[in-house]
């Protein structure tokens, strides 16, 4: 699966480079997952890069980053963990949800430098070897997704929600999943998946 991911990304990057269209390149740079660095404003020189050490899924990563780099971009573009997704990049969709010291946050509104010294958990860190986390298995079991783009964020949020004790009712699950949007509309099955895990724990 991860091999396929890498080759797909490689294909997209090649496509972006060879298409050469200015508008397309701009679009990819500003909105896509392909931007390796934040765009530099014209006539402003980029600031000095800084060393940032991130503890991600119990592994330490020493990075040298532009201070503008968000945690999301550090994970995806510098560490190669592309599970957390870039949706809105403005904190509204939740596709980039990760855990910081066990609490769910949106990594697009977190600077990588701000996450130094904190315990970062991404969707890649949930499974134990080949054994899915119960919430991952529940999303498969209950068909809690369609296209899957929002799913890593949904699952990270759902795991935290159960830990917060907010899974007592369907209404509570819906309210406390409000930071995660699903444009496919898999919400009923997401609620069912979360209920099944919370019920198993009760």
């Amino acid at each position: 699966m991860s091999d396929w991911d890498v080759s797909r990304r490689g294909f997209l990057q090649t496509t972006a480079l060879t298409s050469g269209g200015f508008a397309f390149a701009q679009f990819v740079d500003r909105h896509g997952a392909l931007a390796a660095e934040p765009e530099a404003a014209p006539s402003e020189s980029a600031p000095a890069r800084q060393r940032v050490t991130l503890q991600v899924n119990r592994t330490s990563h020493e990075l040298t980053l532009d201070p503008r780099t968000t945690l999301l971009d550090a994970l995806r573009e510098h560490i190669g963990l592309t599970g957390a997704k870039k949706g809105c990049d403005m904190g509204a969709c939740g596709a980039c949800t990760v855990h910081l010291d066990g609490k769910r946050v949106v990594s697009c509104l977190t600077l990588a430098a701000s996450a130094e010294g904190r315990r970062i958990t991404t969707i890649e860190g949930l499974a134990e070897g080949d054994e899915l986390h119960p919430m991952q298995a529940a999303f498969v079991e209950h068909d809690g997704f369609q296209c899957g783009y929002c799913t890593p964020g949904q699952i990270m949020s759902a795991v935290a929600l159960v830990g917060e004790g907010r899974a007592a009712s369907d209404d509570s699950i819906r309210e406390f999943m409000s930071g995660n949007l699903c444009r496919c509309g898999a919400y009923p099955n997401i609620v069912a998946a979360i209920k099944s895990v919370a019920g198993g724990r009760a």
Binding site: P38, E39, A40, A41, E44, S45, A46, P47, A48, Q50, D66, P67, R68, T70, D89, M90, G91, A92, G94, T97, L100, K103, R104, V105, V106, C108, L109, T110, L111, A113, S114, S157, A160, L161, E164, R166, R174, E175, F176, M177, S178, G179
Partner: protein
């Protein structure tokens, strides 16, 4: 984002001294700052991260009231037993704000200083007096369904977005500020400025001033308080209208009341007019209707937001009916 350098402050005075220098801003939870940086509405040359500063994250309650460290996260304050039991209006306002992820990140101090959600303020292609003094207000003749009906001027009609500030202003909260000129305490009601002719001046704070805590004085009848928020969707949305209320009831009579409105004012809107109407009044719907009318008496509608005048009155009446029941 424009380029900036990043410094982590680990000493309060040093952080204040750095932030007093031109082009420097504090960074705490980052949930509003990162959006403003990405939109290039804010272009600091340096950010001073303050989340490592000690002694600013505690939440405590006692005979002196409630003290919220400015770096306490919204989620932690909302779930604190003393906040839930003694000041439910504060807990409810927080839980009605943003999303669970954002509430785990955003701080109390940052929440009070968040910038308006006016779309013209956040779009650098459009004129906006608040962002660029003298450029004009795009909202007055533009899309203004979400804008303020109270406290606006010919230069700006942007609403203040915080729910927490509305609850806190109803509770007579005070902000504790450390700055280059020492420590001061400012009534939250006096922290934010009306736009008037200088909408770019949003608060009385000066460069380098840092909110270190919010204090809420003892208010026994805040146990009978409530935050009611009405919005375009059920969750994760800013208010069209909101009401923070607390009632001190003696039999069938209202001894004292606290009332503040959100979503309709250019600052967190304490309504002394409504409180005056309620003081000594009978605990009945007619009293609530009079208070609501008094609260909105000075409202000035624009072409799209006139509905807010009725909506805010109904929101307030519903909040009073609920808390008075």
């Amino acid at each position: 984002m424009y380029p900036f350098t990043y410094v982590r402050g680990d000493d309060r005075q040093a952080a204040v001294a750095l932030a007093a220098e031109p082009g420097t801003e504090f960074l705490a939870g980052g949930t509003d700052m990162l959006q403003l940086l990405k939109d290039e509405v804010r272009r600091p040359r340096r950010l001073v991260e303050i989340t490592s500063l000690s002694g600013m994250s505690e939440i405590s309650s006692g005979p002196q009231g409630l003290r919220l460290g400015a770096l306490a996260r919204m989620a932690d304050v909302a779930d604190h037993p003393a906040v839930r039991d003694e000041y439910p209006v504060i807990s409810q306002a927080l839980l009605a704000s943003a999303s669970p992820q954002v509430r785990n990140m955003a701080t109390i101090g940052g929440n009070l200083l968040q910038r308006t959600r006016c779309a013209y303020f956040r779009d650098t292609a459009m004129p906006c007096n608040r962002r660029e003094p003298g450029s004009g207000c795009s909202a007055i003749d533009g899309e203004n369904r979400l804008h303020a009906v109270l406290g606006g001027s010919d230069h700006c009609i942007a609403t203040h977005a915080s729910d927490l500030a509305v609850a806190l202003v109803a509770c007579d909260a005070v902000v504790v500020v450390t700055g280059p000129s020492g420590e001061q305490r400012i009534k939250l009601e006096d922290l934010h400025l009306l736009p008037g002719e200088t909408p770019e001046k949003e608060t009385v704070l000066q460069p380098g001033d840092l909110i270190t805590a919010v204090e809420v004085p003892p208010l026994a009848f805040a146990r009978r308080s409530l935050y009611r928020k009405v919005r375009d969707r059920a969750s994760f949305e800013f208010a069209l209208a909101a009401a923070a209320v607390a009632l001190d009831i003696d039999g069938g009579t209202i001894r004292q009341a606290r009332v503040a409105l959100g979503g309709v004012g250019t600052k967190p809107w304490r309504s002394h007019e409504a409180e005056k109407a309620l003081t000594g009044a009978k605990l009945e719907t007619a009293s609530f209707e009079k208070a609501a009318a008094a609260a909105l008496a000075a409202a000035r509608p624009l072409h799209q937001n006139g509905f807010k005048i009725i909506l805010a009155q109904r929101t307030l009446i519903r909040a009073l009916l609920t808390v008075g029941a």
